[in-house]
Every structure is written in structure tokens, then in C-alpha cells.
């Protein structure tokens, strides 16, 4: 069977607790569809996106992948949202020989799942240390550090490992490590421990709601020092939670709206026009995922018309092409190593600046 219309699958969490993150990814992907098709699609032929909801669990991700692979007959998949889901669903794509780009999977071991698995999300080990270095730049006197993380969240626990390592590497003292659950709301106990440890830097790995509450309660109860937030807090969704108290939180970024590339500037402009705010990282990464697929398809198409391919062959070819290419995305120029691990040049550190109770922005630090 030849490929008539090119369909790219997007499997992210549109329901469940994880939808908070998935929603931004949906926006990013939709945006890419509209924008890239507006610019001619794949050498003049528009492509289509097929969305399948993964929910927040493993079975949901597998089902979404299966549907995309056999029913929607996609050439490649951007997804899933969580690394834990990726460990369940990526092997499915791997066996079916369908290329996958993880848009937000930052855990260790994702590209190693197989030849067809790559990601556009830089692993924590690469991103997280930047924030600590930046904090030390802002306040060289920092000595004592408290680390807090959501222990029921896979990504937060792996991120905290990196943070803790960095703290040691930088010669700082790890005064206390506190755990919480993503479903927790009250952090008085943890905050108390932090305050008692008299630290001057707090590092939080969690998701938006719990992370935001933690920041809020830290401030309300009198913590004055610097706060670093991990990848899960890297969303404006945190603003309504800690409101004015979000001010000053430092977050390492794999993406910056300020990134100077032309690709990004156009993206940011269009995004702002439509959503009246800066694109968040998860949207940018999902966008990048779709863009990488599309550009790889374009390159293939130039060599041999896509509609002459068998779907199976196209998938294999696409995977090769993805790994071979170099892409000018809003994330900057990116490429992949042979395992499928992302090679990204620029990382950023931003600090939250709240304009009022609801609105704020990430201000990028040099």
C-alpha cells in the first residue's frame, strides 16, 4: 500500500492528571500543523496530525500507540508525555518499526529503548545543572542546600538525582533532602525542615501544582533564599498557584522564547498572536517534534516522492532520515546522535518575574 496522505501521530495525555502538561503539547503540535502546512507542508503537500489520547497511564499509552500505528497509519509518532509511559509504549513502536520522538521524556534510558526511539527533550542530566550554576552566579555565598522532590513522580526522582549530584560537584552542602507526593498540598512539614536547616538555596523537583504550592508555602512561612525549580515547574501553569510568591524562582530551560534563531522568532510571534502569551517549553518541544518529522519527510520526499513509498518502508526511511538531519527548531539547532539522543547546543536559565497576581513571565538570565 502506498502512502496517500502523510499522517503524523501525536500521542499525549489529553485526559487524567497529566493533561495539564499534555494540553500544552497539544497546543504546540496543533500549532505546528497549522503553521507548517501554511508554509507548504511537505514540499507542497499538506500533512495531517492524528491525535490519540494516552491518559496518564501505561496501558493508555500503549493503546494510543497501537491505534496510531495500525488505524491511523502514521509515519511516525510524537509522544508520549511521561517517561514512564514511554517505557511501556515505545517498545511497541520499536517492534513495529515506527519512528518515535519523545517530546518531553527526560528520563535516562529513553533513546536506548531502540533504534526507532529518539527525543527532542534534553535529558535532565544535561539541563538541570545549569540552574545550579546560575544560582551560584547570582549568589556566590550559597553554601547550604535543601533538595525537595516528588517521590511518586518518575521524572522528579530522576531529576533530583542530577540536582543532588550537581550540588555535591559544586562543593555545596546538601543539608536536607525532603520528599513529597505530587498529590500533596500541604508542605508545612517539609518547609519546616528546610527552615530549620537554615539553607540558602532550595531545589524543587515536582510538577506544577505541588511545586507551586511548595514555593508558595516556603515563602509564606518565611523562607528568603533562592529557589530553583525543575523541569516540571517549567510552565506558566505554576503562576496561579504561587502567584506573586513565584517571583524569583530559577528554572533551567531547554527552551527560551528569547532564543534568537529565526525559526524561533517566527514561532514566538505567531504563538503570541494567537495565545497572547509566550510559548511554554512543552509546547515548543511538541512543536519541534512535529517539525523534525516534517523536515525529515521533506528531505525524503525530495529524494523520492513520498507517495511512492510503502508505509513500512517510509517509516524505516523516515527514522534514518530523522537521525541523520540537522534541524532549525525553536529549540535552536538540534540533531541526534546515533542512539537517538538529542544534541542541543543551547540551554537557558530563566527567573520568574510576576507582573501581578496572575501574569508573569520567564526572564532569561545570561
Amino acid at each position: 500500500q502506498k502512502v496517500e496522505t502523510v499522517t503524523i501521530g501525536v500521542a499525549v495525555a489529553q485526559t487524567s492528571n497529566t493533561a495539564l502538561l499534555g494540553q500544552e503539547q497539544v497546543i504546540g503540535a496543533r500549532f505546528a500543523e497549522k503553521f507548517l502546512n501554511g508554509r507548504g507542508g511537505i514540499n507542497g503537500t499538506p500533512f495531517k496530525l492524528a491525535f490519540q489520547d494516552t491518559g496518564g497511564d501505561e496501558a493508555g499509552a500503549i493503546n494510543a500507540f497501537q491505534n496510531l500505528i495500525t488505524k491511523d497509519r502514521v509515519v511516525g509518532i510524537v509522544g508520549p508525555t511521561l517517561s514512564q509511559q514511554a517505557f511501556a509504549s515505545d517498545p511497541i513502536a520499536e517492534r513495529a518499526k515506527v519512528p518515535v520522538l519523545g517530546p518531553s521524556n527526560t528520563a535516562k534510558g529513553i533513546p536506548q529503548i531502540g533504534d526507532f526511539i529518539a527525543r527532542v527533550s534534553a535529558p535532565v542530566a544535561v539541563v538541570a545543572p545549569n540552574a545550579v550554576r546560575q544560582a551560584l552566579k547570582l549568589d556566590p555565598k550559597i553554601k547550604e542546600v535543601a533538595v525537595l522532590y516528588a517521590q511518586n513522580d518518575a521524572f522528579s526522582t530522576s531529576e533530583t538525582g542530577t540536582f543532588q549530584q550537581t550540588v555535591k560537584d559544586q562543593g555545596l552542602t546538601l543539608s536536607t533532602v525532603q520528599r513529597f507526593q505530587t498529590t500533596d498540598t500541604d508542605f508545612t512539614t517539609q518547609v519546616q525542615a528546610v527552615l530549620n536547616a537554615k539553607v540558602d538555596l532550595v531545589i524543587i523537583s515536582g510538577l506544577a501544582a505541588d511545586g507551586g504550592n511548595l514555593v508558595k508555602q516556603l515563602r509564606q512561612l518565611g523562607y528568603k533564599g533562592l529557589i530553583i525549580g525543575g523541569n516540571g515547574l517549567n510552565t506558566s501553569n505554576m503562576f496561579p498557584v504561587c502567584q506573586k510568591l513565584c517571583d524569583g524562582v530559577i528554572i533551567a530551560q531547554a527552551y527560551s522564547p528569547a532564543q534568537a534563531s529565526a525559526a524561533n522568532q517566527v514561532f514566538v510571534k505567531e504563538y503570541r498572536a494567537q495565545y497572547k502569551k509566550d510559548p511554554p517549553q512543552f509546547a515548543a518541544q511538541a512543536y519541534a517534534g512535529v517539525q523534525v518529522m516534517v523536515e525529515a519527510l521533506k528531505a525524503l520526499d525530495r529524494k523520492k516522492k513520498l507517495n511512492t513509498y510503502d508505509l513500512d518502508d517510509l517509516r524505516v526511511a523516515l527514522n534514518k532520515q530523522i537521525l541523520a538531519g540537522k534541524y532549525n527548531t525553536p529549540l535552536g539547532t538540534i540533531s541526534f546522535d546515533k542512539e537517538g539522543e538529542l544534541i542541543q547546543k543551547e540551554f537557558y536559565v530563566a527567573q520568574i518575574k510576576m507582573r501581578d497576581a496572575k501574569n508573569g513571565s520567564f526572564v532569561y538570565l545570561k
Binding site: 485526559t15 489520547d53 491518559g55 501505561e58 517505557f87 529503548i113
Partner: protein, 311 residues
């Protein structure tokens, strides 16, 4: 056909798996015990298999046994489930109704937190890269594991129901005190039913770890407990087919409703409401009502009691 299996094979296997988990809850329920511990045993079974299949400590064993490793993981899952079943069941079965349900949920939660904190279980990330049973390539091939197990379990359950032990369980469900007074020792049989469920759940867990490719603490949670219970009730809690039908259905509905896109979970919720309103005895219960029960047959060989005394 191939495409169908590719797309829905995983779902079908999940439906069978859900049916099995439903049955694991059904056994204690037969003795009137509302135990929601199944996801705990399921998680433990899964961890046992995942560890045995990935941990370097078992590398030698894996090399020696080859595919024989998989049945061994099943055995391990079942035995661990059973052992834990005894440990939890003996104290917990003094409780009744919702109290028992909550005590078993407490057990599930404790296990979950422990799994999050251990290194062998891979902490919150869990264990991934689990090798495939018998080199299975596709999810649907797991039907070859779950279906025979389901059939065996059904057969077991049916035979159990018709036996002296099955009667004892029913008696306890109906009236524990009266059962006791009529010579049925309640504790012993309650623990038995509980352990049967635990063994089954552990076994299913062990089969499920390769099936899902990965295993983590989210596999045994409160939500799972409630979903399984809902499946049993929707299917019908008084007939062995109930948990199977309910489990399969509840696993299938959200997938079947995929075409509704954003509305699918809303509709899924409505399905649950409507089903519980219109099928108060569950689906199988409703079907049973259609066919009126066959009156019991007098054993043919029975000598008609000579001294028939009318009271």
C-alpha cells in the same frame, strides 16, 4: 485480521487481564469479603517477574532456563501473592465490609510506597526494558497467556462453586454467624478465599510485567482497586462470568469510545452510571434473570424417604 489484532490485540489481552483481576476479587467476595487488595498482589507479582527478568542477579538463572524463566516468574508471582495473602489476610479478615475494604487498600498503599522507595523496584521510575515472554513480538500474542489462564480460572471457579468448599463460602457470605453455628469455620474459609484471590492476582501480575514492557509503583494503586471492584459489580458479583464480562467491558469502553475524542471519558462516566442504574444485578445478573433458574432436580436414585412426615 492482522491489522485488527495489531490494533486491538493489546486491548483484548487487557480485557482478559482485567477479567482475571476481577476474578481475583471475586473469590473473596464469594465469602462475602470485600477485599480490594488485588492490585497489591498484582503489583508484587509484576515486580517479582520484572526483577527476575531484568536484574543482573538473575542473569545466570535466565541463561540456564531460557524461556523456562517465564513460568518460573509466574510461579514466583503466585507464591509471593499467596504468602502475602496469608500475612495480610489472617489479621485483616476479622474486619467487615468497608472496613475490610479499607484495610486492604491500606495494604495496597503501603506496598506502593515501599516500592517507590526501594532500589530493586527501580524507585519511582520502575523497571523497564522487560524481555518478552517466549520472544513474543506483538501484544496480542499475550492472549495466548491470558486466555488459557482465564479459562482455567473459570473452570476452577465453577468447580469450586459446586463443591463443599464453595457452599461454605456462600454460607459465610450470607450469614457468617449462622454458618459458624452450622459447623462452617468462617476464619479458615475466609482466609482460603482471600489467598486464592491473592495467588491469582500475583500470577496475573507476573504475566503482565512483560506485557506492559515496564513495571512501576503505579501498577498497584487505589484507583486500580476501585476500577476492579467497579468491573466486578458492573459485570455481576454473583456469577463467575460477572467479573469477566465486567472487567472486559470496563477495559474496553474507553478504547471503544476513542472516536468521541474529547468527550470519551465523559461518556465513559455516563456509561458507568447508566449501567449501574439499569443493571442492578450486573450484566450477567440481568442475563440470568432472563432465563429462569432451573429448579433443582431430585436425585433420581434417591429412595423416596419412607417416613415422610408432614410437620
Amino acid at each position: 485480521m492482522d491489522d485488527f489484532l495489531q490494533t486491538y490485540g493489546f486491548l483484548i489481552a487487557t480485557m482478559l487481564q482485567a477479567g482475571l483481576l476481577g476474578l481475583s476479587l471475586y473469590f473473596p467476595l464469594q465469602a462475602g469479603q470485600l477485599s480490594l487488595a488485588s492490585p497489591g498482589f498484582y503489583a508484587v507479582g509484576g515486580y517479582a517477574a520484572a526483577i527476575m527478568l531484568t536484574n543482573p542477579a538473575f542473569a545466570g538463572l535466565r541463561d540456564t532456563l531460557g524461556n523456562g524463566m517465564f513460568p518460573l516468574t509466574w510461579l514466583a508471582g503466585a507464591v509471593l501473592g499467596g504468602l502475602l495473602g496469608v500475612i495480610v489476610g489472617v489479621p485483616a479478615l476479622r474486619l467487615r465490609g468497608i472496613y475490610l475494604a479499607l484495610a486492604t487498600i491500606a495494604f495496597v498503599e503501603i506496598l506502593r510506597v515501599v516500592a517507590l522507595n526501594l532500589t530493586v523496584t527501580g524507585g519511582a521510575v520502575g523497571i523497564f526494558g522487560i524481555p518478552q515472554a517466549f520472544g513474543f513480538q506483538d501484544r496480542w500474542q499475550y492472549i495466548f497467556l491470558f486466555l488459557p489462564l482465564l479459562l482455567l480460572t473459570l473452570l476452577f471457579a465453577r468447580q469450586l462453586e459446586r463443591s463443599r468448599v464453595g457452599r461454605a463460602l456462600r454460607a459465610i457470605r450470607e450469614d457468617e454467624l449462622a454458618a459458624d453455628a452450622m459447623g462452617v469455620p468462617p476464619t479458615q474459609y475466609k482466609v482460603l478465599a482471600f489467598v486464592i484471590g491473592a495467588v491469582l492476582a500475583g500470577l496475573v501480575g507476573a504475566m503482565s510485567a512483560p506485557f506492559l514492557n515496564t513495571w512501576n509503583a503505579k501498577q498497584g494503586t487505589f484507583d486500580a482497586s476501585i476500577t476492579i471492584l467497579a468491573a466486578v459489580l458492573i459485570g455481576g458479583s454473583r456469577n463467575i462470568w460477572g467479573p469477566v464480562v465486567g472487567g472486559a467491558l470496563l477495559a474496553a469502553v474507553p478504547e471503544v469510545l476513542r472516536f468521541l475524542a474529547d468527550w470519551r471519558l465523559v461518556i465513559n462516566g455516563l456509561v458507568l452510571v447508566v449501567a449501574s442504574l439499569y443493571l442492578p444485578q450486573g450484566i450477567v445478573g440481568a442475563l440470568e434473570r432472563l432465563g429462569r433458574p432451573r429448579p433443582p432436580q431430585r436425585p433420581t436414585s434417591a429412595p423416596v424417604s419412607a417416613a415422610e412426615v408432614k410437620s
